[in-house]
Symmetry: C2
Subunit: 418 residues, 2 copies
């Protein structure tokens, strides 16, 4: 592991020297090679699929693991999109000239060596490696053990293509960890002299285990327990649309909503209509006592909520519902039970909206919009490597810029400190 | 510890609601109170001084511990300066309107709860608490056990003054940890649900111990092994000034230089003159073989360097000296042995300067200027809570802005994702 990490560090120094044009040429060559070598990638994937079938992976897992021409073309398309994005390195973030004439510039730079730990989907290999490469970072990829042949094949095709296109491409810029031993990963994440950042992607258990044991800084994306709060002055039709979109459009993703909070002033009229619409969309409700009283037994699929429901990330067609006494109680609920991911208020009242936007301590807060917009693509970042629920380093959707750090450059003509 | 951390989290929510004017009024009241209560602060300090004398603290340690009227006035002056600085919260860092009309703003916010761990000097209590307060963060202060009465007295005076000035001042916004047990600190730094950041200030051992055991993100300021590289095309007089300033003006600080690298093309003429000037300034040299051959025995206080010297942060009048074969070797030396703090090239050659500035992977890099400028005040930040050698979160000098994070605010009129 030490040797691998050291090679990545060396590669990161070389990567930082590549021009934007060189990086883009490599990305385009990689995209072409993925399509041109689709058969060898599918062959490698077949080994993983066979092993997965034998070891009894669920059909959902096998589906995530499978690579076909459409998915390989999808990866290639992703690489071309990354090539088309602006280079995040070398941006001047701040500039000042001191009274003594010293000119200071704060300039974005690559972070260095980034470890990405992820689960079954092999297309993450191409996505993560390309975003890190474009931002000048060396990547160490540690995918799920069930996808190891696929991941290795994808990375090899990308590296070979880049080397052919660019003789000075540092071959250790993208490395796939061969072992899946936990101890080896722990060792990798103790090498603070070589590894600069770890980004685990996957279930909460994986992320928590990595964060607990890593000596390297970790940017975490824990669960998304997202809320919509329907204020007394909400546009009711708008609230319905935002809730149905948040819960039903794609329930399995982190920016889907898990809890609905309703102001008690509007609950008696709003909740029955909303619950009916949710029932039509096959959503099960887990409701507090006040909601239960309002809804009575007229709506199917309504169960009493327990304390655990307020913390739950269902990722399916289940929604917790609570009646609250105004915006302050809604804010307190979200800050206590939420996961600081994405939360929305629906209201016409500007004062309460501003209070919500200011006091909800989440990465992304919305006024009259769906939480589903928390996404690199929707934010105009072009691509996304994850959504951070941390506060140190990047927060919210992470695109290319969020994969950079900065340095201060001081240019003088002999200044010394007096 | 859990209760204390929870109180801090609660206070941080209240702090975030204070206006700039309210925060500044509190800071000015705190400053006045420190001066008005100087006797009680000195009384508390006398207890620490007595205990320190009895336990055999060195005279240097006792000097750092001592509070007199001048030092108390100094703390008050610091608070007034922080009050005069712009509020770092609420800055719009980015703004975009998406094609669907959703308006996105990236806005700076407080981080939340910040733990500061520091050693003997009690004035850090006032400095750190005021910077965190102005940036809207609740602070948990854990100073050295030898300064516990002084730290407690300073914090109490500040809190009382703020409460008197502002009835809604959250009293737990500034807390001093009473215990100095290592286990208690470890527990505090495991409470990721309440504590957002830890900044250890002090010796490398302290920082490393905190970083190793903390579950909370840590922004580290390890040692400053800073370099000056004298290129073949250097202005020799300028190089001399920058080296003398870097080594001799204040050798005990992290932005002082520890290693001098000299291009072999200029070494035979430059080194003897430079070594003579350093000798006049009572600087001991630890030199490599090539330098030794050039210098011969004409300069006093010259010893052969060992491998350890290249890693050393002397913090005194000692300078390691090495002759290198051009800018690439200088860069490689710095990236290998340095601490990524501050490094400078002296040259008239723009191409080599740009290579150095780009490829030296340090928080601050200089061209023809002293490394001693790496400082919040010198950078125009107005104040400084530390200098980060990390890459995630802040890098380089940390002022008020570096004590903030950000959130994304999305304002719509009913947008849902399609």
């Amino acid at each position: 592991m030490t040797e691998l990490a050291k090679q990545s560090k060396g590669a990161s120094r070389e990567l930082a020297k590549l021009t934007t044009a060189e990086k883009n040429a490599c990305l385009l060559a990689m995209a072409e090679a993925l399509e041109g070598n689709s058969q060898s990638i599918k062959d490698a994937n077949a080994k993983d699929m066979a092993a997965g079938t034998q070891s009894g992976l669920s059909s959902a897992m096998l589906d995530r693991l499978k690579l076909d021409d459409k998915r390989i073309t999808g990866m290639a398309k992703g690489l071309r999109e990354v090539a088309a994005l602006p280079d995040p390195v070398g941006r001047i973030l701040d500039e000042r000239t001191r009274p003594n004439g010293l000119k200071l510039q704060k300039i974005s730079t690559p972070i260095g060596v980034v470890v990405i730990i992820y689960e079954s989907r092999p297309n993450v290999t191409a996505d993560a490696a390309s975003l890190c490469f474009k931002s000048g970072n060396a990547t160490i990829l540690r995918g799920g053990k069930e996808a190891i042949h696929s991941n290795q094949a994808i990375a090899q095709v990308m590296i070979s293509a880049a080397k052919q296109r660019l003789p000075n491409f540092p071959e250790h810029a993208i490395q796939v960890v061969q072992t899946t031993e936990r101890e080896a990963i722990k060792e990798l994440l103790s090498l603070t002299q070589y590894v600069d950042l770890c980004m685990p992607r996957g279930g909460e258990g994986l992320i928590r285990a990595v964060a607990e044991s890593s000596k390297v800084p970790v940017i975490k994306h824990y669960k998304g327990v997202c809320h919509v709060y329907v204020d007394a002055d909400a546009d009711v039709k708008m609230a319905e649309d935002i809730i149905i979109n948040g819960k039903c459009q794609r329930p399995g993703v982190c920016n889907a909503i898990e809890t609905l909070l309703v102001d008690k002033a509007i609950a008696p009229t709003f909740l029955p209509v909303m619950a009916q619409k949710l029932a039509e969309n096959k959503v099960e409700l887990r409701v507090d006592g006040v909601s239960q009283n309002i809804l009575g037994s007229q709506i199917p699929n309504v169960k009493p909520a327990t304390e655990e429901d307020w913390y739950a990330e269902y990722l399916e067609l289940i929604l917790a519902v609570r009646v609250v006494n105004g915006v302050k109680e809604a804010i307190d609920h979200i800050n206590h039970y939420g996961s600081a991911h994405s939360d929305s208020i629906v209201t016409r009242n500007e004062k309460r909206a501003k209070q919500f936007l200011s006091e909800v301590d989440s990465a992304t807060v919305y006024w009259n919009a769906s939480t589903r917009f928390t996404d690199g693509g929707e934010f105009g970042m072009g691509a996304e490597i994850g959504i951070s629920t941390d506060k140190i380093g990047a927060r919210g959707p992470m695109g290319l810029e969020e994969l950079t750090t900065y340095k201060w450059v001081g240019i003088g003509n002999g200044q010394v400190r007096v």
